[in-house]
């Protein structure tokens, strides 16, 4: 009985989502249960973590900055991960860049954005305080600040969705969750090999830069090749916390491989506003991650040792 990949796709978190499970022909109902669990979990995460949903816990928290607000366990955990990420990246990842992002023009769900000139966020500064009271299930933002969990929220949702699949089917041989290119994988593929993750080449749509081989963990890509807005599409959504404006240095796109998709997403965000030399140094200082950095012009730069499918080096040129 040859295993196959049972798969479902849906639209959530502003992008296309997919979940897949390795299943033998007799596992149809169990696979179906696991796929449904992934979908339900992603939707539950979006209901708590989305800044675009007026009724979400995050929207309530942002609207009540300066006060303690009761929040759900998902938002509490995501905020804790975001604070840890800010510390680990020395502030290159900062969940409190939202006022700067809104000032730049990304003030509503991307598909509803209107074109208007960017302005600087008055009085905004990076590193605003986020207090968590985990015992009481509440959080408080520094007055005047607001949080965006966009990327890390997707990574967190993908991780939880993968856990939900395993909970729904404890014998699950292997699974993948893909939230718009943020991927979490675990276990075996139907071919009993590693998960094959293509890295899209933003310069040549439809082609890939290479294929990553993963037995578990996460992958995320961040870049300025999509989600452009403002006059003539001149702005992008990657805010540099050091300046409070869309970052100037940085690659067209960067892909990060890490033990978890949350880590991959956090470091991809940090590297997406870094120059090449800075990116190399960043990965050298974080040996758990590796990646592929694609500058606006020139060849792709491997960061660390990404698990690329490769056979041998053909040519070495000066």
């Amino acid at each position: 009985m040859t295993p196959r990949l049972a798969r479902t796709e849906w639209r959530a978190v502003g992008t296309t989502c997919a979940a897949a499970a390795t299943a033998s022909p007799g596992d149809g109902r169990r696979a179906e249960r696991a796929l449904t669990a992934a979908r339900v979990e992603v939707e539950a995460c979006e209901a708590e973590l989305s800044r675009f949903r007026a009724g979400s816990d995050l929207s309530h928290l942002n609207a009540s900055a300066g006060e303690w607000v009761a929040v759900g366990p998902r938002l509490l955990e995501a905020l804790r991960l975001a604070l840890r990420a800010r510390e680990e990246t020395g502030g290159a990842f900062d969940p409190t860049v939202l006022p700067a992002l809104v000032a730049a023009g990304y003030d509503r769900s991307f598909e509803q954005l209107a074109e208007r000139p960017a302005v600087r966020a008055e009085g905004w500064r990076p590193g605003a305080a986020i207090e968590l009271d985990e015992a009481a299930g509440r959080a408080r933002l520094e007055a005047g600040t607001a949080v965006d969990l966009g990327g890390i929220g997707k990574g967190y949702a993908a991780t939880r969705a993968l856990d939900a699949m395993r909970d729904a089917w404890p014998g699950l041989p292997g699974a993948l969750v893909d939230l718009g290119g943020d991927l979490a994988v675990r276990g075996e593929t139907p071919e009993r090999g590693p998960w094959r993750i293509a890295v899209a080449d933003p310069r040549r749509p439809g082609t890939t830069l290479g294929t990553l081989l993963l037995h578990g963990g996460g992958v995320a890509t961040s870049g300025r090749d999509v989600r452009r807005f403002g006059p003539g599409g001149s702005l992008h959504h990657l805010i540099d916390p050091a300046t409070g404006e869309p970052a100037r240095p940085g690659p067209l796109a960067v892909t990060v491989v890490a033990p978890t998709v949350v880590e991959a997403e956090v470091h991809a965000t940090a590297l997406a506003i870094s120059g090449a030399a800075e990116a190399v140094a960043h990965v050298a200082a974080h040996p758990r991650i590796s990646g592929l950095y694609l500058p606006a012009a020139g060849g792709a730069l491997p960061l660390g040792e990404p698990p690329l499918a490769r056979t041998r080096v053909l040519v070495r040129a000066a």
Partner: protein
């Protein structure tokens, strides 16, 4: 004379049959090798490398990572 012609025709018929059988049982052409993809990478010291990737040995990817696009309603 008739016997000679019979032998000649028989030989030609046999050769024709052998040719048809040989054509039918010819070995199938080897499947075309998938063209190796070449990945251009730049090393830390700025030098460029060309790295060969074997797509044929890999199979289709299970998923693709890219900067999250926007799904228009």
């Amino acid at each position: 004379m008739t016997r000679i012609w019979t032998v000649v025709l028989s030989v030609w018929a046999m050769l024709a049959i052998v040719a048809v059988l040989a054509w039918q049982s010819r070995p199938a052409p080897a499947p075309a090798q998938a063209a190796a993809q070449t990945l251009v990478v730049k090393t830390v010291n700025g030098k460029q490398q060309l790295v060969a990737v074997q797509p044929g040995a890999l199979g289709a990817p299970h998923a693709t990572t890219a900067t999250s696009g926007v799904v228009r309603p």
